[in-house]
């Protein structure tokens, strides 16, 4: 298998986009191409474009997004496909880009993740995200993604002693990290006592899906992120020799039951565990080698549970690690230095690519105030559905 790495990254400011959806998507793509030094028109060397988006068709009324972007950027006749895997669409697109180069079919692939969610009302947004759920066993009841996060959180609280305050500790940490990230959606300091004080909690941090409160879940964001992948053996020839090569050392993905109620152990996130194991095996790394991780914290309980399923902490202790500050930027296992989905924002299809962009910055040593000193190997988990289709990616400078 050929070595595949990242030589260009791009990222729009997450939040509310003020430009047309295709423009926003192209903005991230061009930034990644400029970062790498990739050209358009006759000088284009990109063989393939993959675009991860969940709801461009549903929300933006734009289908065939990849075809539109290739034309807009004058990359014709590059191959182009739009990839949909719910909120894990971005990492799936990166995975497919990796596979296209590793297999020898392509030498250079542009991957973009993009979502414009704030074009619709909160009601409509909640509804279109919920269409990932099982239509007969879940969706028709009015269940949403926060509903399942609430059901899951209560189980974790009962089984492992996770508290509401633990979720707030994760949230406060991610908001603090986002304050250091210029492209984050929410850049406000959040104080723990303001969102946990029983006397004011219903005003400052109201229940959304009991026991989950507002600060236990991510905002609704627009945004796009992009990476340019190249084969190691073609890096010089294609004109990217001057860029640091961040190697994709391992990818893994796995599925679990569509119906959440039918999971053998309801507190397990089996697809997270299996995808991480696959990525570890391909890379030759173990959890002990990971210096920094971006974990899909659409709900704060997921950061805790994923930190255990990926082997970064023993089962049932992820919340204790957060309490002890181990997951802070200067902690022993920094998680979500970007601010995570909680504060950087969660434009569904963009998230998986955005996680990779953050980790590339960390591994290049370009993360500024949120830099993890000496970071060499990194892990990303992008979580589709309510954990029924998960993608893990391991990057390294080694």
């Amino acid at each position: 298998m050929r070595e595949v790495g990242i030589v260009g990254i791009g990222h729009t400011k997450f939040g509310k986009s003020n430009v047309p959806f295709i423009d926003m998507t192209c903005q991230a793509a061009l930034e990644a191409m400029d970062d790498a030094g990739a050209k358009t028109g006759r000088k284009n060397v990109i063989d393939q474009v993959f675009i991860g988006t969940m709801a461009a068709g549903m929300v933006q009324r734009i289908s065939g997004l990849a075809s539109a972007v290739v034309d807009t950027l004058n990359l014709r006749p590059a191959m182009a496909e739009t990839i949909e895997n719910g909120p894990a669409s971005g990492a799936s697109a990166v995975k497919l880009g990796f596979m296209a180069i590793a297999s020898g079919v392509c030498d250079c692939v542009l991957v973009v993740g993009a979502e414009g969610m704030r074009a619709v009302t909160g009601w409509e947004g909640t509804d279109f995200v919920a269409t990932m759920l099982h239509p007969e066993a879940e969706y028709k009841y009015g269940c949403t993604l926060p509903s399942f996060a609430g059901l899951f959180t209560r189980l974790c609280m009962d089984k492992y002693g996770v508290t509401s305050k633990d979720l707030s500790i994760v949230s406060v940490k991610n908001h603090a990290n986002a304050c250091l990230n210029p492209v984050a959606h929410i850049r406000n300091v959040v104080k723990l006592d303001r969102i946990t004080d029983e006397r004011i909690i219903n005003a400052t941090n109201p229940l959304v899906a009991d026991p989950l409160r507002q600060f236990d879940m991510c905002p609704v964001s627009d945004g796009a992120a992009a990476v340019l992948l190249v084969a190691k053996d073609k890096q010089e020839e294609l004109g990217f020799g001057g860029k640091k090569f961040i190697r994709i050392a391992g990818v893994g993905s796995a599925t679990d039951t569509h119906v959440v109620a039918n999971r053998e152990v309801p507190t397990d996130l089996l697809a997270v565990r299996l995808s991480a194991q696959m990525a570890y095996k391909m890379s030759g790394f173990t959890p002990k080698d990971i210096d920094v991780a971006e974990l899909h914290d659409a709900f704060q309980i997921l950061e805790i549970a994923e930190s255990e399923e990926t082997g970064l902490f023993p089962r049932g202790t992820g919340h204790l690690a957060a309490r002890e500050g181990k997951t802070e930027i200067k902690g022993e296992m920094p998680i979500n230095t970007s601010g995570g989905l909680k504060a950087k924002g969660h434009p569904l299809g963009a998230t998986g690519v955005s996680q990779i962009v953050e980790l590339v910055k960390q591994l290049r040593g370009e993360a500024g105030e949120r830099q993890v000193e000496g970071a060499k190997t990194a892990l990303a988990i992008n979580f589709g559905g309510f954990g029924n289709n998960v993608v893990a990616t391991i990057l390294t400078t080694k």
């Binding site: 009601w123 007969e136 028709k140 009841y141 949403t144 609430g150 059901l151 309801p266």
Partner: protein
Amino acid sequence: MEEMKMYAYKCKKCGKLHHPRYIVCQNPDCDGREFEEVPLEGKCKLLTWTRVYNLPEGYMVPWLNFGIVEFPNGVRATGQIGFDDGIETGMELVATVGQVRDKVIKYKETVTEPQYGFIFQKA
């Protein structure tokens, strides 16, 4: 009133019970494709629950309660909980069937079609 009943689906080859309906038996050692309908009703145990305040489009209520239950035959199901007070994990409930949503169908003119499902009540 056929739509007012809920079923488990028993694989005719290995006997495994399923809910909801599948095309292929979910037993990893079986490849059955034929199922027998078994009424799914009566007592069940609440495994976990939530009260949700930000509901999708179409629900004109301030909140809904959702739960995952397990029936004595081992089948689990998600549904609405039809009462507000005294909901506790582990409590015994009774599975009833009622209207859980209006499905909106937009074709020539917009019509709604009631959808039925589990509404769990106090035992």
